[in-house]
């Protein structure tokens, strides 16, 4: 580990200095200095802010890429220097400053890449709305993963849950003409995948990772096969799903920028808000949550206290299917209205990455998913604006970040202790 322990003792307390964070700040600040400072395009970047507002409008936000670049570089260098000074005294810099560093780093980079594009005007509302929309399946997916992993079952099958959810949603909604039935079917699809995972991992004690990977292959093949044999035969009746309705929440949606982004969305987004809040509350404040966490960390201790470990795990895996299945509904009931072979395109794996990057915590997973959704959307926006930055580079970002996260370079990411280990009573 790169954590350096300074054991030099003063009179009473040991001073522990961890140089990892200051070094990361310094490296990023240096990188920014060369990239967004010295190489800044002399262009004005315009963010439109008033999209989606009805009764009034607010002026656009115009930034000179060069000036903003230097402002953020100076701020980052200052924070990095401050981090070294305080760490020398054995303290971390305050959380707020850490947040400020990342704010300047991300916005600085953002202004820089947009400034480097051919067209440098974009709507902030569109950017953020797209980011939120694209992160829906990842949020649902990572929460599905969360429910499994916190109770000690590794869920690699998120991809399969999303894909089967998307498939069943498209089929059911097309057949009945009701997107709500489609949503229900998506949950059932997710649960079916969960059922395979649970039966094999808990009842037959097959390695959970293997089951997950194999189930992904199975579902990809199955949905691909059924798509070409069944859905393609009669797409008008079997593969043209009605979309879930979009609601605008009256007053809230008129808050500048945030309003149209958060409160003028598909029903699935509101369901997502509720799901996230519910799972956070249930996991941290209820008896079920305490038991789930206990079973995930130390099943034997939980068993000793009379908790039926495997039954709780079984239930949680099925619940995870419900949640992840809803994420699958995004593809066929929100994004486009028909199923296509392999349309989830690895988002289940990004959801898994988000869960890990978010350190197996509800809000961590939420923000990681949003961040990954943002990079996806940024990719789209940048290719529209005509950028010189290769989109593949940005597409790699979530995966690189995840590797850094699991390798402990950006904070330590440690999963539930019993995750992946089957529990055998006795």
């Amino acid at each position: 580990m790169s954590v350096a322990l300074d054991t030099s003792r003063t009179e009473e307390t040991a001073v522990v200095r961890r140089w990892k964070n200051p070094i990361i700040y310094a490296v990023l600040a240096a990188l920014s200095f060369f990239l967004i400072g010295l190489n800044a395009p002399d262009k004005t970047v315009v963010f439109r802010l008033s999209d989606g507002l009805k009764n009034f409008s607010i002026p656009d936000l115009s930034l000179n890429a060069g000036v903003y670049g230097w402002i953020s570089v100076v701020a980052m260098v200052a924070i990095a220097a401050f981090a070294f000074i305080t760490m020398n005294k054995g303290r971390e810099i305050p959380r707020g400053l850490q947040g400020l560093f990342w704010f300047f780093f991300i916005t600085g980079m953002l202004v820089w890449v947009i400034g480097a594009a051919r067209s440098s005007e974009l709507s902030l509302v569109t950017l953020l709305t797209g980011a939120l929309t694209l992160s829906i399946p990842m949020i649902f997916g990572s929460f599905g993963g969360l429910l499994c992993e916190r109770s000690g079952i590794v869920n690699i099958a998120i991809e399969a849950q999303l894909l089967l959810g998307a498939f069943t949603a498209a089929l059911a909604a097309s057949m009945t003409g009701s997107p709500w039935v489609g949503l229900l079917a998506a949950m059932i699809g997710g649960v079916l995948v969960s059922l395979i995972l649970a039966v094999f991992a808990i009842k037959y004690l097959v390695d959970q990772t293997i089951v997950g990977v194999v189930v992904n292959v199975l579902v990809a093949g199955l949905t691909g096969f059924l798509y070409s044999r069944v859905l393609q035969a009669d797409p008008a009746h079997l593969n043209s799903a009605p979309k879930l309705p979009t609601f605008e929440i009256p007053v809230l949606s008129q808050i500048p920028v945030i309003g149209p982004v958060l409160f003028n969305q598909s029903v699935l987004v509101y369901i997502m808000y509720i799901t996230v809040a519910l799972i956070w509350f249930a996991l941290n404040k209820t008896r079920w949550g305490l038991r789930t966490r206990a079973v995930g960390e130390h099943p034997k201790a939980a068993d000793t206290l009379g908790i039926n470990v495997n039954r709780l795990r079984f239930t949680n895996v099925l619940l995870a299917g419900v949640v992840a299945g809803m994420g699958g509904a995004f593809f066929t009931l929100v994004s486009v209205s028909s199923f296509n072979a392999n349309m989830t395109a690895g988002q289940g794996y990004i959801a898994l990455a988000a869960l890990i990057f978010g350190r197996w915590k509800p809000f961590g997973a939420l923000f990681a998913s949003l961040l990954f959704g943002f990079t996806l959307q940024l990719n789209f926006v940048l290719s529209l604006l005509g950028t010189s930055v290769p989109t593949e580079l940005l597409a790699m970002l979530p995966y690189l970040v995840t590797i850094f996260a699991v390798a402990g370079l950006v904070g330590v990411s440690r999963g539930p202790a019993a995750s992946g280990k089957p529990y055998i009573k006795g």
């Binding site: 293997i210 990977v213 093949g221 070409s228 072979a341 990455a353 590797i403």
Partner: protein
């Protein structure tokens, strides 16, 4: 003798599970469970998977569905239509994979067999890349990325340089080995140094590799001159693996990569079963703590086995780019890296087992193409059958229940499926 050391410690390692009967599947050691089990089990799994696949083909067959409309009037119609659909598909698959009686010449008739071997070549090599780490207790699902990296490096050496005949091919092969070994070794290194989970690492590296090849094939260094598609120049003859049956009238694609694959199997078999390194790796796989106590460097073991695995997958990339495809495309690795997982599992992580499993799956793939062309049955059914085989194999009690096979670990018990819970409870 280094082999004596671990032996001395072995009793301590096996003493941990109090119940000697827990050996086969109750104990979650991947390596022991994969290596155990009989041929009958594999056959049972194959039959069950093919049967389910047949059911799926029949159920989605229009003629069968029509006959099912008057099932109660004449049930035989439905059954015969179902039989016709499933048997027809499997017959086409056989003709596409082994022997085609419709061919004019003998060469035409056995061309399917050579196609099977061609497709099996990268599967054998990538299968070994998954199988060897299994024996050391690691789950390498990064074969896909390792194939891509191997193909990238060997392809680049192939088209970028003009070298004498034999030397060029050797360098192409070595380049592929190095490319794959670095990508695989990276996983081992990160796992050994930071404790990050290899599954997460290799998933992320797969996606990074997939984006990397997309990115590189758009750069002037890699892209074919005058082409707007992401495709590299064609490799010169000096860089190609020659065909085994070179006759131009034969037109067999089978190349010396297949022989390379057989050599790799022999090497892997010696390495893991006979060599000192192999012994150490198996010790690490059986129980890393015991291995560490016995003086085996576990971290080094992880790095070595992942580098070797990467090298083997890199060879699969060589076989693709310098043998079958002769040029670098974004789809150079197809889905061989993922199929390799099912291959290694079906081969029970043994080199020769992997070899035969790869031949079987190569036959499925080659035959699937013919099946799709002649009967319109989508090739995705192959993925379904493959995944089902592995699921059945992974859960021996399930297959034993279906086929009423005796349980070697517990011959007296009548209900094999109850074994797990009973063993656990004892």
């Amino acid at each position: 003798m280094s082999a004596e050391k671990p032996k001395a410690v072995k009793p301590a390692a096996t003493a941990a599970p109090a119940n000697p009967q827990m050996g086969e599947h109750a104990k979650p050691s991947l390596a022991t469970r994969l290596a155990g089990g009989g041929f009958g089990l594999s056959l049972g799994a194959l039959i069950a998977a093919l049967f389910l696949g047949g059911l799926l083909i029949a159920a989605t067959d229009p003629a069968t569905q029509k006959a099912a409309g008057y099932f109660f009037a004449r049930p035989t119609d439905t059954l015969s239509a179902a039989w016709k659909a499933a048997a027809g598909a499997y017959k086409a698959m056989f003709e596409g994979a082994i022997f085609n009686p419709k061919g004019k010449t003998f060469a035409d008739q056995i061309r399917p067999l050579t196609e099977t071997l061609t497709v099996a070549t990268p599967l054998i090599l990538a299968g070994l890349a998954v199988a060897l780490p299994f024996r050391a207790g690691l789950f390498n699902i990064g074969a896909q990325g390792q194939i891509i990296l191997g193909a990238l490096v060997s392809g680049y050496v192939g088209f970028a340089y003009n070298l004498p005949l034999a030397l060029h091919l050797v360098l192409v092969i070595i380049g592929g080995i190095i490319g794959g070994a670095i990508w695989g070794g990276l996983v081992g290194l990160l796992k050994a140094k930071t404790g990050a989970h290899e599954v997460i690492l290799s998933i992320m590296l797969n996606y990074i590799a997939a984006n990397l090849i997309l990115l590189l094939l758009k750069t002037p260094t890699f892209q074919r001159e005058g082409s707007s598609n992401p495709i590299s120049p064609i490799l010169p003859d000096s860089a190609l693996l020659p065909r085994i049956f070179p006759g131009s009238d034969l037109n067999f694609r089978l190349h010396w990569g297949f022989v390379l694959a057989i050599i790799a199997v022999i090497f892997a078999s010696w390495l893991i079963e006979r060599s000192t390194i192999g012994f150490r790796l198996r010790a690490v796989g059986a129980n890393p703590n015991a291995a560490r106590t016995a003086g085996i460097n576990v971290a080094n073991g992880y790095i070595i086995v992942m580098a070797i695995a990467g090298a083997l997958a890199g060879l699969a990339g060589v076989a693709q780019v310098a043998g079958t495809e002769k040029t670098l495309t974004t789809g150079i690795a197809a889905s061989f890296g993922f199929d390799a997982i099912t291959v290694a599992l079906l081969g029970r992580a043994k080199p020769w087992g992997t070899f035969f499993a790869a031949l079987l799956y190569g036959a499925f793939r080659a035959g699937g193409v013919m099946m799709q062309a002649t009967t319109g049955t989508n090739i995705d059914i192959v993925a379904v059958v493959q995944a089902l085989i592995v699921l059945f194999i992974a859960a021996p009690p399930l297959v034993r229940t279906i086929f009423r096979l005796p349980d070697p670990a517990n011959p007296r018990k009548k209900k094999a499926s109850k074994n797990n819970s009973l063993q656990g409870a004892q």
